[in-house]
C-alpha cells in the first residue's frame, strides 16, 4: 500500500499527469481558436492594422506623384504647432468635451430628479428620449433649418420681441460651436437622463427617509446621500460623453457645412478636412494620432477614477 501511494505521487507520474492535462488544454485551445478566429481576423485586419498604418503614415511625407514612400520624421507634428487652424480646432475640441459633459449631466440630473416621483413618468421619459432615436445626420439636417436666418429659432425670437430677427447662428464664429453643442445636448439628453434615473432607482430609500425624519433639508440629502451613491452612474455618463465630445463628426459636418472656418470646429472635423478635402493624408494622419492619444489618455484617467470610486463604495 505504501509503495503504491508513493509511486502514484512519484515525480514521474505527476509529470506525466501534468503533461496529459496540458495536452488536453492544447487540444481544446485548438478548437477554441476556430471559435475566436473570425472575430480576431476581422478586428486585426480592419481595425488594428489601420491604426498601426496610421501612426506610420503620420511620419511620412505625401507627394503628389511619388506617394508616401518618403519619411519626414516629426515634420507633420511640428507643423501642427505652427498652424493656427490646429490650435483653434484643439481649443474648440476642449469646449466640446466640457460642453458635452457638463450640460447633459446638469440638465439630465435636474430632469431625472424632477421626473422621479411624478405621474406619467414613463411617458415623459419616452418623450425626452425621442430625439435619440433619430439619426445624427437627420437631426443635423433638421437643426440646420432651425438655426437658419428664417428658421424656427429666429422666428421665435422675432415673435417674442416683436422686432424682425434673422441671425445666422451657424455662420458666426461666436455662435456656431455653441449652437451645434446645443443640438448635441438636445439629442443625447434622453439617454443621460434614462441612465441617471436607473442610478437613482437603485439608491435605497431607507437612509433618505431616516435623514428626512431627522430634519435634513432636500439639499443636504442630495449632497450627502444621493450624490455619493449616484457617483458611479455619473462617471459612466461622463465617460460616454467625453468620448462623444472628442469625436462628434456627423452633427458638425452636416450643420456647419456652410461655415467658412469649419475646419477649426473640432479636431475630428479638422482631420477629415485636411485628409479628404485638402488631400494632406500624412498631415491628417498626424492630427488623428494626436486626437487618438488624447482620447486614450483621458479615458484611462477616467477609468482610474472609476475604479477608485467603485472600490470606495464597496
Amino acid at each position: 500500500m505504501v509503495t503504491a501511494a508513493s509511486t502514484l505521487l512519484s515525480p514521474a507520474v505527476l509529470k506525466e499527469a501534468r503533461r496529459r492535462e496540458r495536452r488536453a488544454a492544447w487540444a481544446q485551445t485548438r478548437i477554441a481558436w476556430l471559435f475566436i478566429a473570425p472575430a480576431v481576423i476581422m478586428v486585426t485586419v480592419f481595425l488594428l492594422t489601420p491604426v498601426v498604418f496610421n501612426v506610420i503614415l503620420s511620419f511620412t511625407k505625401w507627394q503628389k506623384f511619388t506617394g508616401l514612400d518618403q519619411f519626414a520624421g516629426f515634420n507633420n507634428y511640428a507643423r501642427l504647432f505652427r498652424v493656427p487652424y490646429f490650435s483653434e480646432a484643439l481649443g474648440n475640441t476642449a469646449v466640446w468635451v466640457v460642453g458635452a459633459v457638463i450640460f447633459p449631466l446638469a440638465v439630465g440630473l435636474g430632469l431625472a430628479l424632477l421626473l422621479r416621483n411624478i405621474p406619467f413618468q414613463e411617458t415623459f421619459k419616452s418623450l425626452f428620449f425621442l430625439p435619440r432615436v433619430l439619426a445624427p445626420t437627420a437631426v443635423g439636417a433638421i437643426w440646420y433649418y432651425v438655426y437658419a436666418p428664417h428658421g424656427v429659432l429666429n422666428s421665435a425670437v422675432s415673435n417674442l420681441t416683436g422686432t424682425p430677427f434673422d441671425f445666422g447662428w451657424l455662420y458666426s464664429s461666436a455662435t456656431v460651436s455653441g449652437s451645434v453643442i446645443f443640438t448635441f445636448v438636445w439629442q443625447t439628453l434622453g439617454i443621460t437622463m434614462v441612465l441617471l434615473l436607473l442610478g437613482l432607482a437603485a439608491i435605497p430609500k431607507d437612509p433618505i427617509e431616516a435623514a428626512r425624519v431627522d430634519g435634513a433639508s432636500s439639499g443636504q440629502i442630495f449632497r450627502h446621500i444621493i450624490w455619493p451613491l449616484l457617483l458611479p452612474t455619473v462617471l459612466v455618463v461622463t465617460i460616454l460623453n467625453v468620448a462623444a465630445g472628442f469625436t462628434t463628426f456627423d452633427l458638425l459636418w452636416v450643420m456647419a457645412g456652410d461655415y467658412p472656418g469649419k475646419r477649426t470646429l473640432s479636431l475630428a472635423v479638422y482631420m477629415y478636412y485636411e485628409s479628404f478635402s485638402n488631400g494632406a493624408w500624412a498631415y491628417g494622419s498626424a492630427v488623428a494620432v494626436v486626437l487618438g492619444a488624447m482620447v486614450i489618455l483621458v479615458s484611462a484617467l477616467l477609468a482610474l477614477v472609476q475604479s477608485r470610486v467603485t472600490k470606495n463604495i464597496r
Binding site: F35, V51, F53, T137, I142, S275, A288
Partner: protein, 295 residues
C-alpha cells in the same frame, strides 16, 4: 408637548404625512415638465409641419404654421426619392445594417464562447487584442482604410463596406457577451458534452439560447449604428449604387442644394423611419441594450 418617539404609530403617521406632502408637491412638478417637454419637442413639431408643405408654402408661411393640406408630402417624398436615389440608398443601408449586425453579433458570440466556455490558452490576451478595437477614435482608421481599400479594390463596393461594418461592430458585443456567457452555469454545457455533443452543438443549442436577450439588444445597437453611419460610408463608398442613406441625405442638404427645406426635411424623416420603428417595436430590448453600454 412631549413626543413619544417609541410610539410606532405616531412615527408611521408622520412618515405617511410626509409622503403625502411629497406626492402633492410631485403633482405640481408636472407643470414645468410639460412646458419643458413642449419646448423640447418643438423641432420635431417643426419636422412634422414641414413635410406637409410645398416649397412656396414654406417660403410664404411662418415656419411653425400648420400646412394647408397633407397632400404635399407625396410630392416631397417623390422629389427626395428621385433626386437623392433614396430607395437605393435605403436598401444599401438596410442590407449593411441587417447583414453586418447579424454577422458581428454572431462572430462576437462565437469568440465569447471560445474565451469563456472552452479552455483557451492565452484567453485574456486574445480578449485584450479585440478589446483594443474600442479604444481608438474612428478618425484613426480613415486614411489607412481608404488607401488599403483602393489597393485591394474594395473601394466603392458593397462587400468592402460590409466587411468594415462587421469588424467595427465586433468588440463591444464581445465585451458584453463575454460577461453574459461567463454567468451561465458550467453544468449546462458539461451535461451536453457528456452526452457527446460537439462544441458547435453546445454553442448553438445550449449557450446562445441562454443569452438570446442580450444578443437581440446588441444586434439592435449595431443595426442602429450601421444605419446611422455617415463617416465611413462618405469616404469608402460614396458611389450612388453603394452609398448609405446618410450619405444620400447629406448630399441633399447644404449650400449647393437648390431644394427647399421641405424636401430635405422629408428625406430626414424617411431616413429615420426604420430605427424609429425598431425602437417602438422593441423598446424593451432597446432600453436593455442601452443599459448594456454602461456596464
Amino acid at each position: 408637548m412631549a413626543v413619544d418617539i417609541t410610539d410606532r404609530q405616531f412615527i408611521s403617521g408622520l412618515i405617511e404625512k410626509e409622503r403625502k406632502a411629497q406626492r402633492v408637491g410631485g403633482r405640481w412638478l408636472v407643470v414645468p415638465i410639460i412646458v419643458l417637454a413642449i419646448a423640447y419637442l418643438t423641432p420635431l413639431y417643426y419636422l412634422f409641419v414641414t413635410v406637409f408643405k410645398t416649397s412656396t408654402e414654406y417660403a410664404r408661411k411662418g415656419v411653425l404654421e400648420l400646412p394647408d393640406s397633407l397632400g404635399p408630402i407625396i410630392d416631397n417624398t417623390i422629389q427626395a426619392w428621385t433626386i437623392a436615389h433614396l430607395g437605393e440608398a435605403a436598401l444599401n443601408s438596410f442590407s449593411y445594417a441587417l447583414v453586418g449586425g447579424v454577422l458581428a453579433v454572431a462572430f462576437a458570440a462565437a469568440a465569447a464562447y471560445g474565451m469563456t466556455r472552452l479552455t483557451l490558452i492565452g484567453a485574456n490576451g486574445w480578449f485584450m487584442l479585440i478589446f483594443t478595437g474600442t479604444l481608438f477614435p474612428f478618425q484613426m482608421y480613415l486614411v489607412p482604410l481608404l488607401f488599403g481599400y483602393q489597393r485591394l479594390g474594395l473601394i466603392n463596393s458593397w462587400f468592402g463596406m460590409l466587411l468594415l461594418y462587421v469588424a467595427i461592430c465586433i468588440p463591444f458585443p464581445l465585451l458584453v457577451l463575454r460577461n453574459s456567457f461567463a454567468s451561465i452555469t458550467k453544468e449546462v454545457d458539461e451535461a451536453a458534452r457528456i452526452e457527446g455533443a460537439s462544441e458547435w452543438r453546445v454553442f448553438v443549442s445550449m449557450i446562445v439560447p441562454n443569452a438570446i436577450g442580450p444578443m437581440i439588444a446588441l444586434f439592435l445597437l449595431q443595426f442602429t449604428f450601421i444605419w446611422n453611419d455617415l463617416l465611413f460610408s462618405s469616404i469608402l463608398a460614396n458611389g450612388i449604387e453603394v452609398r448609405s442613406i446618410m450619405v444620400a441625405l447629406q448630399s441633399l442638404q447644404g449650400t449647393y442644394s437648390t431644394l427647399g427645406p421641405n424636401v430635405v426635411i422629408t428625406a430626414a424623416l424617411i431616413s429615420s423611419i426604420p430605427t424609429v420603428l425598431l425602437f417602438i417595436a422593441l423598446r424593451k430590448y432597446f432600453m436593455a441594450g442601452l443599459q448594456l453600454g454602461t456596464k
